[in-house]
């Protein structure tokens, strides 16, 4: 059973099933998924395919009904306690009473970092997401895109080995979304953590990922996996490459094979 693998997986999901007590929904059925260090994995699929549920199971925000999740060789609970997760939701989830700098510092406070160390790291993160001049602003003073950048800076501030992102750009307009896609990629290349990214957008999934996991609903299963072999660094031109379109088509076919259509306004409403 205990073979030694060359690169230990950051995430290992084994036989995970999740049924909600309300009965009729099997959100996830027998999910097997492994994520290597430095991998960028997107989960895509229609409503009710359980992609957000899977993300939450990995992040120990929901407990699976059956199966196990190991993160960095530990249980998901231990990984959460150790601060292995940086989480970004669709809404920025900023704390209104805290300034931008203090929002970014919140996980650092929870981890017991000293004031001096917090201040240095916050300055670094503000620089990374280009919001230095907004340090003392309050969340309501920032646009949606800027708020989401704060959320990303906060999720990265304590250098979690795993970034969990649940449709982080879903509420933003197309132009902002594409700009933040580029920004996220450059941050990912700089920091070198693994990312699990839930999205409804095929092109976003293909553009960002090293691997796209296509899921199908009722019950939530993995329908197929598409390796994205587009070269790095990815730029605006990547979206116009013919390989990009081939991969987009491949993902779309996989989704269509399940007889499901992807609507941009769809939302996973299982939670």
């Amino acid at each position: 059973m205990s073979e030694v693998t060359a690169t230990p997986a950051v995430v290992r999901v084994e036989g995970v099933t999740k049924t909600f007590p309300r009965g009729y929904v099997t959100a996830l059925e027998n999910i097997e998924l492994e994520i290597a260090p430095r991998e960028f994995v997107s989960l895509i699929g229609p409503s009710g395919c359980g992609k957000s549920t899977l993300l939450r199971v990995i992040g120990d925000l929901i407990e699976p009904t059956a199966g196990t999740v190991r993160v960095n060789g530990k249980s998901a609970r231990q990984a959460r306690r150790d601060g292995d997760y940086g989480i970004v939701f669709q809404e920025a989830v900023l704390y209104d009473w805290r300034s931008i700098a203090k929002n970014i510092a919140l996980p650092l406070e929870m981890l017991g970092w000293s004031r001096q160390r917090r201040r240095e790291r916050v300055a670094e993160m503000l620089d990374l997401v280009e919001l230095t001049s907004f340090a003392d602003h309050h969340p309501w003073q920032l646009s949606g895109g800027m708020q989401q950048r704060v959320a990303i800076a906060r999720a990265l501030s304590f250098e979690p080995s795993l970034l969990l992102m649940d449709e982080p750009f879903g509420a933003l307009d197309e132009m902002t979304r594409e700009r933040l896609n580029l920004e996220l990629l450059s941050i990912w290349e700089q920091t070198g953590n693994s990312v699990v990214f839930v999205t409804h957008s095929i092109s976003e999934a293909v553009f960002l990922s090293s691997r796209v996991v296509v899921m199908s609903p009722r019950p939530g299963r993995i329908a197929g996996v598409v390796e994205i072999d587009l070269p790095h660094p990815r730029t605006v031109d990547t979206r116009e490459a013919s390989r990009f379109f081939e991969l987009v088509t491949e993902v779309r076919e996989l989704l269509r094979m399940r007889g499901e259509h992807l609507l941009p306004e769809e939302e996973a409403v299982l939670e």
């Binding site: 959460r80 306690r81 601060g83 939701f89 009473w97």
Partner: protein, 261 residues
């Protein structure tokens, strides 16, 4: 700060000030023009002059009553916050107590004023404080509880992802979320506490209390003095309300109301 916000404040206050001046002017003019009898409605100028000549009686009386209101406000609001904390923290306590509190909220508390007078010595300020406290308790309790329960689920979930304990979630998310609700309730309570103290005194109280003064003046047809007493009560009520607003501005600097200023 700079000049611009100040001009903004002046411009903001101008319309209500103009309306107020117009109403008082109209009142004065109509009472004079229609020869309204003094006991029905005194002129504002008469009220002001009585307010000034009787200041040595009215202001100490006002201060006496204000202290009752303030005591009741502090006790009632404090108890409301404590009760909300307990009910919000322990679900069973909430299930047992909330229906009772909501039913009690529908009771016209002021009807108990004579009873409070019997429980405590009606001459002593405690009975008025008790009325004011009971009046303040429920709105503060209900609003604070709602505030404590209004934390957005995602904000709590995110704290959990940082391995935060329930106590930390309480301190860093629930309490800040509840503060704007609390201040809304305190504003209501500040007004209620003055009402409680004065109405309480209508059923009997110390000779130098404002409610007693107003009541006595009205009974002996000194309506201008009664009106002057009401003016004192109003000014003190506004002062307490203003103090709460000021505290809110200082503490809840992120709220929409703070944004406007």
């Amino acid at each position: 700060m700079t000049l611009r916000p100040r001009i903004g404040v002046v411009v903001g206050w101008l319309p209500p000030f103009v309306v107020f001046a117009l109403v008082v002017g109209l009142w004065e003019g109509l009472v004079r023009a229609l020869h309204v009898q003094q006991f029905l409605l005194p002129k504002p100028s008469t009220i002001i002059s009585v307010f000034w000549t009787q200041r040595h009686v009215l202001w100490p009386a006002g201060w006496y009553t204000f202290k009752e209101a303030l005591g009741g406000f502090a006790i009632g609001s404090g108890a409301g916050v404590v009760a909300a904390t307990v009910v919000g923290r322990f679900r069973t306590a909430g299930q047992a107590l909330m229906p009772i509190f909501i039913a009690a909220n529908a009771v016209p508390i002021i009807a108990f004023a004579p009873i409070f007078g019997a429980w405590f010595n009606p001459i002593q300020p405690q009975s008025k404080m008790a009325i004011a406290a009971v009046l303040c308790f429920l709105p503060v309790m209900v609003n604070t509880l709602r505030g404590l329960q209004s934390a957005r689920p995602r904000q709590v979930e995110l704290m959990r992802s940082y391995a935060a304990s329930e106590l930390e979630i309480w301190r860093r998310v629930r309490v800040p979320t509840a503060l704007p609700f609390l201040f809304t309730a305190l504003k209501v309570a500040s007004v209620l506490s003055m009402i409680g103290a004065i109405v309480g005194e209508y059923f009997g109280g110390a000779m130098n209390a404002l409610g007693v003064t107003i009541n006595t003046d009205a009974q002996i047809f000194q309506f201008d003095a009664a009106w002057a007493g009401i003016l004192v009560a109003s000014l003190l009520g506004i002062a307490l309300y203003g103090a709460v607003v000021l505290a809110e501005r200082l503490i809840v600097r992120w709220s929409p109301e703070a944004r406007a200023s």
